[in-house]
């Protein structure tokens, strides 16, 4: 009997299952026990132990029969943004309280078909709008990492904060996340885990609660780059139910992951050197550059001149799409409906329902989106932002045309900050968390965050690699080289 089965990653557990060293039942029980003991992290917000044990039994039978896929029998968490049949799927919002989907998202169905075991649903910022998990109706998810001996609670990042906390604390082997402006990569960086946002169109968005449809992508959050390769392969693939899903074959990402980057050209964008960026982030970036160079890559300084305008463009486009997508929450078809007074008509029903059901950040973004799309402002804001988006994508195309294989940047402008520390800051200060990640969504590219070091307070920091469209296999291979060179093995001390 092995100990701490829940601390295994996907590849380790898969290999143990195939050798017969453990069973899915044992793995699942270990994770369920870990979840039971981790209430303080508030990562799992809907628990599905019975579904998990049934899936584990089925997986064990399948493994015994031979020829089980890689994810078979592996216990994972699912972000609350994914609709899961018969299981609460609230997107972290009060407005979807009580909603029990009659259908299953394509990504979670693919994982289930591959034999993965769902342990429950994971905390997140409301409708994936946030960078600290503080906008969730379930309350804050808490980062298992702390600053040295300081017991101040830190954010696991957002919006996939519950996913990141759960993976970092070994409550599950891996988790699904989604990323609209950095919501996989920023929490991964804050928790010493790996997160990849694939190329737009690689994973189906069907059954994933929509935030900004032209930017949203699902991806895995894992304990290693190899695990990310394994899980992404299971999540990805063409889906006729998503009109933006790409009709492309999914490569064997794990097999392609050689970690050999000799002869590859890595671009270092000068615009990512921000004023006021902490020295430790700059030092980490320089370390990463040295590691890639030592591994045989050619390092080239590049320019992505419109970088500065990515966040402002994002804060037009994403709220505009959100205001449209969230119009469906009207208190008629599903979720919360406000109590009405005598004489209230349908307009009062809409307005009261949405005021009660949406939290402040969601209300703010819906209204900003409404404003930038309103008559008289559509050209000045929305169309201009879409033109800037074209320029941002062109910046990347130009450097890829120059022979750049991947781009190395910091993942975040800081380490994890304290929960509540940003409460009095203006909303824009929080938005700056995504300054290094949001360009990738606007350009539809794949990006991965890899843990690369610790800051002076003992908190993890991540580096981001950005790849060419559809070349996740190559990106994962470069990320594997970075992971091996960085040798990040630290884990948070258990206090919960």
């Amino acid at each position: 009997m092995m100990t701490d089965l829940n601390s295994l990653g996907l590849s380790g557990a898969r290999d143990a299952l195939r050798k017969g060293d453990t069973t899915s039942k044992e793995l699942t029980e270990a994770c369920l026990a870990a979840i039971e003991g981790a209430g303080a992290l508030n990562a799992f917000v809907h628990h599905t132990p019975q579904i998990a044990m049934d899936a584990a039994a089925a997986a064990d039978a399948r493994i015994a029969g031979g020829d089980a896929p890689a994810m078979c029998g592996l216990p994972i968490g699912i972000k609350d943004l994914f609709c899961t049949r018969g299981v609460p799927s609230q997107a972290g919002s009060r407005i979807l309280e009580g909603f029990l989907p009659e259908y299953e998202s394509t990504v979670s169905q693919k994982l289930a078909d591959a034999g993965a075991v769902m342990l429950g649903k994971l905390n997140m910022d409301e409708f994936a709008m946030g960078s600290s998990n503080e906008t969730s109706v379930y309350g804050n998810a808490v980062n298992p990492w702390r600053r040295g001996n300081d017991d101040a609670a830190l954010t696991p990042g957002g919006s996939s904060g519950g996913s990141a906390a759960a993976v970092a604390a070994d409550l599950c082997l891996a988790a699904t996340g989604t990323d609209t402006g950095g919501s996989i990569r920023q929490p991964a960086a804050f928790t010493g885990t790996v997160g990849i946002k694939p190329t737009y169109g690689r994973c189906s968005r069907w059954g994933v609660v929509a935030f900004a449809s032209s930017l949203d992508q699902a991806g895995p959050m894992t304990k290693s780059v190899r695990d990310a390769a394994i899980m992404l392969e299971a999540m990805a693939g063409f889906d006729p139910k998503d009109s933006t899903s790409a009709e492309r074959a999914v490569p064997d990402f794990e097999a392609a992951m050689t970690g050999d980057i000799r002869g590859k050209t890595i671009g270092i964008p000068r615009e990512y050197r921000m004023d006021g960026m902490p020295d430790e982030i700059e030092a980490l970036w320089q370390d990463g550059i040295a590691m890639m160079k030592d591994a045989g890559a050619k390092i080239v300084d590049i320019s992505l001149p419109h970088t500065k305008y990515a966040l402002p463009a994002y804060y037009v486009i994403a709220p505009a799409e959100a205001s449209s997508n969230l119009a469906r929450y009207d208190g008629v078809r599903y979720g919360h409906r406000a109590k009405l007074h005598q004489g209230d008509g349908i307009t009062e029903m809409y307005e009261k329902t949405r005021a009660e059901g949406f939290g402040p950040e969601v209300q703010r973004r819906v209204m900003i989106g409404t404003y930038v799309l309103s008559a008289g402002f559509y050209d000045a804001y929305y169309n201009r932002a879409r033109k800037v988006r074209t320029l941002i994508k062109r910046d990347f195309e130009q450097v890829f045309d120059q022979g750049i294989d991947a781009i190395l940047t910091p993942a975040t402008p800081s380490a994890a900050f304290g929960l509540g520390e940003m409460t009095d800051a203006d909303p824009v200060a929080m938005y700056l968390n995504d300054v290094f990640t949001v360009t990738v969504n606007l350009a539809g590219l794949p990006g991965i965050s890899v843990p690369a070091g610790l800051d002076k307070q003992g908190l993890p920091l991540g580096l981001q690699l950005i790849g060419r469209p559809w070349e996740e296999a190559d990106l994962l291979s470069s990320a594997y080289a970075l992971e091996q060179a960085a040798g990040f093995v630290a884990k948070p001390g258990k206090w919960w």
Binding site: S214, V332, I346, E351, V366, M367
Partner: protein, 95 residues
């Protein structure tokens, strides 16, 4: 561009979100902070640039015009806050 309270109230109305009058000054101030940030976009020369419609070059797929599902009224109504006699129910719309 500066948003005053009456503009904030108009936007809230368009978005169908009830905002109490006493909350309008703070809301207008937040809008102004965010719009001030967005205002940077006016520095960019976008002359002759096409607004992006699709981040990956693709033509919207078509499928055969045929019924692929249906007959699931119960499932569609199962999450409704108020469903009666096979319909979604809402407050009276017409007098």
């Amino acid at each position: 561009m500066s948003i005053d309270e009456s503009t904030a109230a108009r936007v809230a109305k368009l978005a169908r979100i009830k905002v109490e009058p006493q909350a309008l000054p703070a809301l207008a101030a937040e809008f102004n902070t965010i719009l001030g940030f967005i205002e940077q976009l006016s520095e960019v020369d976008v002359e002759g640039v096409e607004p992006m419609t699709s981040v990956t070059p693709q033509v919207l797929r078509r499928r055969a015009d045929e019924v692929t599902d249906g007959n699931q009224q119960d499932k569609i109504l199962s999450n409704a806050p108020d469903a009666r006699e096979g319909f979604f129910a809402v407050p009276k719309v017409m007098e």
